[in-house]
């Protein structure tokens, strides 16, 4: 029993008193979502791999730094981290820097979201890279060293190539997560996809929220599925016959 008037055409309607259409808002939002997620993923993958490696090194201080990073960034909710980067940090740094962050930094919402999301996801990537390295038989590292490779060379040529192959499935999940987590950036005013959904279903077109929310869900679904397929392709292409993920 409902008097809800369905209207799937809502998205094709023109924004009142303007030359824009609602679907253009959604496309622009999707663009920011993808740009934010991809940029943050670059940070997450590079920094995460570094931290993950640090945690497996024999040096106590280095592995401590890795552990401290992971526990700090993994144990604070993402929404709180973004809030801190955006609202708290500019108040703590010297006024000149704070004012620059608030007024002159290029694209303040986007930049903050990319770094916040990237640093958060790096902690999770680090754990997966560490898992990948620790999964390898200990003999591999010893064999590398016995061949006369330095520790760095052993990581570069022996351990990491296999470790990354092993953790492609969990990294795929993390890569998909970063697209979905980017929605949190609406709390700092980034005009990404979920922001646009809230904007349209707010006072602009409040009468058909269910349709807009459904379409936005489908957009997220298709982005995540595309990422999933691309990663599956990479996994297939990087397979080493006879090794762990090369089996089947």
């Amino acid at each position: 029993m409902s008097t809800y008037q369905w209207d799937w055409g809502i998205i094709l309607q023109q924004v009142p008193e303007s030359e824009e259409f609602y679907y253009q808002w959604l496309i622009s939002g999707l663009g920011w979502t993808i740009a934010t997620a991809l940029s943050a993923w670059v940070i997450a993958l590079l920094l995460g791999s570094l931290i993950g490696v640090l945690r497996t090194l024999p040096s106590r201080p280095l592995s401590f730094i890795g552990t401290a990073y992971v526990e700090l960034f993994r144990n604070i909710p993402l929404i709180v981290q973004l809030f801190i980067w955006f609202f708290v940090v500019p108040e703590l740094v010297p006024t000149v820097v704070g004012d620059w962050m608030k007024r002159d930094m290029p694209l303040p919402e986007f930049t903050t979201a990319v770094f916040g999301l990237g640093l958060f996801t790096a902690a999770r990537v680090a754990e997966q890279v560490r898992t990948g390295i620790l999964t390898l038989p200990r003999g591999q590292k010893n064999a590398g060293l016995a061949l006369g490779l330095t520790l760095g060379q052993t990581y570069r040529h022996v351990l990491l190539p296999m470790a990354f192959r092993i953790v492609i499935p969990p990294l795929t999940s993390e890569f998909m997560n970063i697209f979905k987590n980017s929605a949190v950036a609406l709390v700092i005013g980034l005009t990404e996809l979920t922001f646009q959904m809230k904007q349209i279903t707010g006072d602009y077109a409040p009468s058909n929220p269910i349709e807009v929310m459904t379409l936005v869900s489908l957009l997220y679904l298709s982005v995540a599925l595309s990422v999933n397929r691309i990663m599956a392709f990479i996994e297939k292409k990087s397979r080493v016959p006879g090794y762990i993920s090369g089996g089947k």
């Binding site: 029993m1 409902s2 008097t3 809800y4 008037q5 369905w6 209207d7 924004v15 009142p16 008193e17 303007s18 609202f87 500019p90 108040e91 004012d99 608030k102 007024r103 303040p108 919402e109 609406l186 709390v187 005013g189 005009t191 922001f195 809230k198 904007q199 279903t201 707010g202 006072d203 602009y204 077109a205 409040p206 009468s207 058909n208 929220p209 269910i210």
Partner: protein, 298 residues
Amino acid sequence: MFRKATLIMAAISGVFSVAASAEDTTLPTLQKIKASGIINVGHRESSIPFSYLDDKQKPIGYSMDLCNKIIENVKKDLNMPSLKVNLVPVTSATRIPLMTNGTVDLECGSTTNSMERQKQVAFGVATYVAPVRMLVKAGTKLDSLDDLNGKAVVTTTGTTSDQLIRKNEKGMNIDVKNVYAKDHAESFLMVETGRADAFVMDEILLAGFIANAKNPKDFAIVGPTLRAEPYGIMLRKDDPAFKKVVDDTLKGLMKSGEINKIYQKWFLSPIPPKNINLSLPMSQELKNAFTNPSDKGV
């Protein structure tokens, strides 16, 4: 493969059967109330002073007082003195779906009566007229929209304040930087921390934030009225019998002047929980709305 296809078909048909059952028409509200013995009242949680929770988590406010008058008349009309009132919290995003699916029968909050919303729901005559103005830090010179040139203006997500500026931007050729915040509290924070120069919103909400600020003197509401929005109590569409009870009750309060006392209680006296006085005298627009009650949307 076959099982996969069957599952997908089942899922899809499930979605469509929900959509189909949602098309069923509903009973007129008064009949529904009579049959169930319950009236479901939607309220907000922090829409001060219209509809918000007090320190005992009980919804109170200007709109709640008006709704209680409506409920009294429903009891009289249906001859059901022991009618049960079921209070349902709603948000700006849920109020319309919950109204159309019958979860609430009456929404007592601070909802603008807009033509867009009238596609789904109906409104009683306007109970408040909210002028839209600008909040700035005290000392900022902002007498007209021209002074916004080069300034950052914050809009709360889900409101149309950015459009108000955009519309004027065209005519006046000024360059405004639109920034966004997730709720009104955060928009206020954007001005407080200097990320934005002005916050464009309903004056009543701005007054509430200033009253609750650490130093109310640090802020000011300035500039012309950019738009006036009528607030209305929301009910289901195409339900003339229930709408008559709602409108007659409100018109009665306006005619007898009783609504002035209720206004006095919420806008010109200290209100819970912090005993802050919003000190917002009745605007000319609101006085007009009480003399000539109307349910016209914007």
